[in-house]
Symmetry: C2
Subunit: 221 residues, 2 copies
């Protein structure tokens, strides 16, 4: 797929060799996460809010209560910056200076647009839900008309984006490779633990397959 356009806004300045602008890379990182940090500005003050999202094409969907600061602000069509970071490991070099992280991140720029029709809202909400836990949406009660009314859904079409990736070994200064210091990568892993049933869960309701395959049950059951 094609590249996102480059501009003053999304060009990677520091460690430019880590920057990627192709849609395949940007989409893949967005699809590997479900929580973004969304930045917006109110009267000169930046706000950064963690929120769940879904993606279709070059559009990122977020949702929330219509009383939240994030949603009321984005509803006015202001600029947004959506950043997603997957933290893959600590890069341990022989010098403090060359320590780093292995990561995959996307920084995407666009403006908020309120999704108005109930059908379009439902489609976007399902996208967000399925991005968090595939298979869940069809298993639960759909939103009512009243619930949709108090939910604001915002579409942010990506105008520009950059991915940034670091992977692999530390890069030390030539003279430091002889130091007697352990060097390498300490991987960071994110996984699901065994589900904790709601204390009010009815009897005989089993954990569905779309959840069961996500974790390893250490009790061996």
């Amino acid at each position: 797929m094609s590249d996102f356009p480059k501009s003053e806004r999304n060009i990677v300045r520091r460690r430019a060799e880590r920057g990627r602008y192709d849609r395949d890379t940007v989409h893949a990182i967005l699809d590997a996460a479900s929580l973004c940090h969304l930045g917006f500005v109110v009267e000169g003050q930046p706000f950064v809010i963690p929120t769940l999202y879904g993606r279709a094409g070059d559009t990122i969907y977020v949702h929330g209560s219509s009383v939240s600061r994030m949603l009321t602000s984005l509803s006015e069509g202001i600029r947004a910056c959506v950043t997603v970071t997957l933290n893959d490991g600590i890069v341990l070099a022989r010098s403090a200076f060359h320590h780093s992280m292995n990561y995959r991140s996307v920084t995407a720029f666009g403006t908020g647009l309120v999704i108005e029709g109930d059908d379009d809202k439902l489609t976007a909400l399902k996208l967000i839900s399925e991005n968090v836990l595939r298979g869940r949406w069809d298993d639960v009660r759909e939103p009512t008309k009243k619930e949709l009314n108090v939910t604001t859904v915002i579409a942010i079409e990506i105008e520009e984006a950059a991915a940034k990736i670091r992977e692999g070994d530390p890069k030390d200064d030539a003279r430091d490779y002889d130091l007697p210091v352990w060097a390498g990568v300490l991987p960071i892993e994110t996984s699901y633990g065994s589900p904790v049933a709601d204390t009010k869960l009815g009897e005989g309701i089993e954990i569905p397959e779309y959840i069961r395959h996500l974790y390893s049950d250490e009790s061996g059951k």
Copy 2:
């Protein structure tokens, strides 16, 4: 400890009952993570950049190359928003509407101040390093004068902050508890994997104890 002051900026509007303003809670969440998402504004455009940090008292320290957009912008003393999010689990309700996340987050507001003296820079860099991996700093080569010169260190004193915490079971509508849907929490766990040695690691250099105690070695060695 005392509370951070409340203002238009940090007051939790949505789900106000989840908001906390006491320093103990804010500090504990900041100390439980090492990656923040830092927001700042350049000519009306918000930027959100993932970066490592350290904390001492009410001050958050970040660092980076003096050529990076984040560091050059913060060096001008502009407003910053530092957000830290620990994602603890997916809250699975019986209705799509009541799905949520269990999380601990902090949103902190302040302005950047450049740290000038080498001693103060070293102290801040050690804070960041130790927040990422305790014990590492004293094991590696310290920064040289030249390395310090190309590293910008910024202190952001927290003027206002809010923590937001959600934990425990889903909260469903009374009429939905009879639905035959599995409900509860799917925990999200972050852990360290077995370290991957640098391909250029010298012979006989063992993994130090401050790393060894962080992961469970599945090979049983």
